[in-house]
């Protein structure tokens, strides 16, 4: 903002032409809310990778929009991450396997359609069906009949999930194929959102301009450039938008978004570039937020490689964990936007939700002497060297992998004990992991889908689970997870999950590195800005002056 005033007289012939462009940039942000509760704010955005459908959106950028235009049965409290009933009046079960879901009256989609039990059942059937190619289909995997609608290979033998039954307009029942006490908590995930009939009757039109039942409606959507969302004045829910709307602008580079924020061209950046972390406090002061998110970074191991699955390998893994100076790396590389991990979940769960600080114990403390001893006892590093694989295309993975390797090398007194193994693209990285081509530890990041300890353990470490990329398998762990899922009492379930987490620790199935924070910065026009536990801004609560 500094120079804008003296720009007038300083402007020479060229500058006049250039200055004209300055006015063209922020066309939408200054437009008032036309009496619908405050102004419109602009926010940085990334181009969603998949078509915007609830069951097809598995990344943050698309999820951001769904969170604004949809409300589901359950919503996670933006502050505490606790699952609270939204459209659901009640979700009842006696055996953790059969659920009766009753809906509140009066909810509608922004096109006027009523939200009924059918809106949910149809949406879930659509999401689960193999022929619709929905990337989040596995979320419906617990519902009875999923194997018919979405077989692992071949053609589907049913179009609808047999476990879903509509009782009346406001009631439906869900039968699961196994006991799962945490099921109601998962229902806040976007994949479980209700869909209006318009979605099924004119799918292409819906994709061009999605219609939901949330506090915002989509005013216009130019794919790849920007989306204008407006406050929906007809919204009856308890969390109506406090601002007139949000303009999401696509940025390819978060550095440009940050520059735009500094120039007063943008109101909100929800991803501070790593290179700016050093200046962000002096640039923004208290308009910089840095809060925990449900993300943990770990190093996974290829257990399909016998070198890493031998009897001594467990000691080597633990030794490697102890050789990593987490505190120093989070401070120097990440400027404290990450916190050294001491368990395998995330602090956003809270202790009631399953987070247990220090569960990892000594195995996560930096202890060079013990680390060296353990690695030696375990038979040394397989092949004399570890290679940490990571994708080099995004994030600052190169920086921290090198730091982790340095830490290990220093401990072992061998400059070549650990090296990074960059892989060009994320797709290729995932590809090699999927084909089990990893020969050493590899980067694994996990962002929770829903705030439940189960989500941090079962998908990652259960035998043959969807994200068990290292193919770790342990009978005791599987048993404890099954037991925890069958538990009807949530606190009991949580403590059983923590026992299972203990098995992960004792075997060091993956090395926990750090919990990731969400970081954001905003302009002086905004107030009441916060990030939810998924590191997405709580848009509906932002006030624009």
């Amino acid at each position: 903002m500094r120079g804008i005033t003296h720009a007038r007289w300083a402007a020479g012939a060229v500058a006049v032409a250039l200055a004209a462009t300055g006015c063209g940039g922020g066309s939408s942000d200054s437009g008032g809310g036309s009496g619908s509760g405050g102004g419109v704010l602009s926010s940085s955005w990334g181009d969603p990778q998949n078509p915007l459908e609830p069951a097809n959106t598995n990344e943050v950028q698309g999820g951001k929009v769904l969170d604004m235009i949809f409300r589901g049965l359950v919503r996670y409290n933006p502050k505490t991450a606790k699952a609270e009933n939204m459209i659901a009046q009640s979700i009842d079960t006696k055996d953790s396997q059969n659920f009766t879901i009753k809906l509140k009256d009066g909810w509608t989609f922004s096109n006027g359609e009523k939200v009924t039990a059918r809106s949910f059942v149809d949406a879930w059937n659509y999401g689960a069906s193999l022929k619709n190619n929905q990337k989040n289909a596995y979320f419906f995997g617990y519902i009875d009949g999923y194997d018919k609608v979405h077989p692992e290979s071949g053609k589907q033998s049913a179009d609808t999930l047999s476990g879903l039954k509509v009782v009346d307009d406001h009631t439906f029942t869900v039968k699961l194929n196994q006991k799962f006490s945490g099921f109601p908590v998962t229902l806040g995930y976007a994949a479980f959102a209700p869909l209006p009939q318009a979605f099924f009757t004119d799918h292409a039109a819906w994709l061009n301009k999605p219609v939901g039942d949330g506090p915002y409606t989509i005013e216009s959507y130019t794919k790849g450039s920007q989306m204008q969302l407006k406050k929906w004045t007809g919204y009856k829910g308890p969390d109506a938008a406090q601002n007139g709307g949000v303009t999401l602008k696509v940025y390819t580079d978060n550095n440009t978004a940050y520059t735009d924020l500094m120039a007063g061209n943008l109101d909100l950046v929800d991803d501070i570039p790593a290179s700016q972390l050093k200046n962000v406090k002096s640039d923004l002061g208290d308009r910089y937020i840095n809060t925990p998110a449900g993300i943990i970074q770990t190093l996974a191991f290829p257990f399909y490689d016998k070198d890493w699955n031998s009897s001594g390998a467990q000691k080597v893994r633990t030794g490697l964990s102890m050789a990593i100076n987490r505190k120093q790396i989070t401070e120097t590389i990440f400027n404290n936007t990450r916190t050294p991990a001491t368990d395998w979940t995330s602090p956003v769960l809270g202790s009631a939700g399953g987070y247990k600080s220090g569960l990892c114990g000594k195995a996560c403390d930096y202890d060079p002497a013990e680390a060296k001893k353990l690695i030696k006892e375990g038979g040394g590093l397989p092949g004399g060297q570890v290679k940490i694989s990571y994708n080099a295309d995004t994030g600052s993975h190169r920086d921290w992998v090198n730091a982790v390797c340095n830490s290990i090398n220093n401990v072992l007194g061998n400059g070549k004990a650990c090296v990074g193994n960059p892989i060009g693209t994320f797709a290729d990285f995932r590809n090699q992991i999927g084909q089990h081509k990893m020969t050493g530890p590899f980067r694994a990041g996990w962002q929770m889908d829903y705030p439940l300890i189960q989500d941090f353990l079962q998908p990652l470490y259960y035998t043959d689970a969807s994200s068990n990329d290292g193919k770790w398998s342990n009978k005791q762990f599987d048993q404890l997870v099954d037991q925890a899922n069958a538990e009807t009492d949530l606190p009991k379930a949580v403590s059983t999950f923590q026992q299972a987490e203990g098995v992960v620790r004792d075997n060091m199935a993956a090395i926990p590195l750090w919990y990731q924070n969400g970081s954001a910065g905003y302009s002086q026009r905004l107030s009441n800005v916060a990030l939810n536990p998924f590191s997405v801004p709580v848009y509906d609560e932002i006030k624009v002056s």
Binding site: G3, A7, L130, S153, G224, T252, N255, T256, D260, A263
Partner: protein, 308 residues
């Protein structure tokens, strides 16, 4: 002349086929594009198989995938990007933006580059010449992203003269600075090229004759000196059109311009073969046409160069 044009057009066919095939193979060698689609989680096998089938990735790359693809391209179907958009739709939004950016850049090259070249060429060894030579040396040696970020920071944030990022509409006036940044290196080359060429031709017989005939200085320079000296410059600028369009990745990223460079970058990051191959195919065509035009322009500039 007519036969020459036909021969040139025929030569373009193998170049086109060869380059697209190469790109096609290169993109596909990078591994399974579906693997990255599901995020940190492995796609479930059934959905992955279904998606592969949908994008035609379950067939051998060569010749099936390539032939189907090329067959579709000739009917104007460039396939579908992973986000469900038609690649032609992406091109429809990206190319106009990049073409505008390229036009701005080329205008800078022609106007500033040639003007500076003529001035310095006529005043060899003088302070102006040395000054411009030094400046161009600096411009050439500093990478585009440094120039871009620096100007963005100074003009956009510190002084507030311009908006640091370009709006989705990307109008001509917004593209002035990005165009200058994109043009900067080529501009320096154009200046140096023109300078050398002018300085050389200044001492040639025909210029001496023209001066001896008593022609006005302005006419000697524009009609005699410049016309001949511009031949290498025109070659350079012509081939540069393609280079600028494809090489705008850095500039477009800095100024958040949603053009060809942006789409290519996204396509490569997400390993979206349909987008990458589609855009590169069009870029190859642009290169070829630009080269053809350069060759034809030769004949116009210098009647001595007449191909059979």
């Amino acid at each position: 002349m007519g036969r020459y044009v036909v021969r040139r057009l025929l030569q373009m066919i193998p170049v086109f086929i060869g380059s697209t095939l190469l790109i096609f193979l290169m993109v596909n060698v990078m591994g399974d594009p579906i693997a990255g689609l599901c995020g940190e989680r492995q796609c479930d096998p059934a959905t992955a198989a279904q998606l592969k089938h949908q994008f035609g990735l379950d067939q051998p790359v060569f010749p099936q995938q390539y032939l189907t693809y090329m067959g579709n391209v000739f009917t104007g179907d460039f396939g579908t990007a992973f986000n469900g958009q038609k690649v032609t739709e992406l091109m429809g939004t990206a190319f106009p933006v990049t073409i505008r950016l390229t036009i701005v850049a080329i205008i800078f090259e022609i106007v500033i580059g040639i003007a500076l070249g003529v001035v310095t060429g006529l005043r060899r060894g003088r302070p102006v010449d040395t000054g411009v030579l030094l400046t161009t040396l600096v411009v050439i040696s500093v990478p585009t992203f440094v120039t871009g970020l620096l100007l963005q920071l100074l003009l956009g944030v510190e002084w507030g003269w311009i908006s640091p990022s370009v709006s989705p509409e990307a109008t001509f006036d917004e593209l002035i600075l990005p165009g200058l940044v994109l043009a900067s290196v080529s501009l320096a080359y154009v200046t140096r090229l023109t300078r050398t060429s002018i300085a050389e031709n200044r001492r040639s017989d025909y210029v001496r004759t023209a001066i001896a005939k008593g022609l006005p200085r302005r006419r000697v320079i524009t009609r005699h000196l410049l016309r001949n000296s511009l031949i290498p410059v025109v070659t350079f600028i012509g081939t540069d059109i393609g280079a600028l369009m494809g090489g705008a990745i850095v500039t477009e990223r800095i100024f958040n311009i949603h053009g060809v460079g942006y789409q290519l970058y996204q396509g490569i990051l997400r390993q979206n073969s349909q987008t990458v191959v589609g855009f590169v195919t069009v870029l190859v065509l642009v290169f070829l046409v630009a080269n053809l035009l350069v060759d034809l322009l030769y004949a116009v500039l210098d009647p001595r160069i007449r191909y059979a």
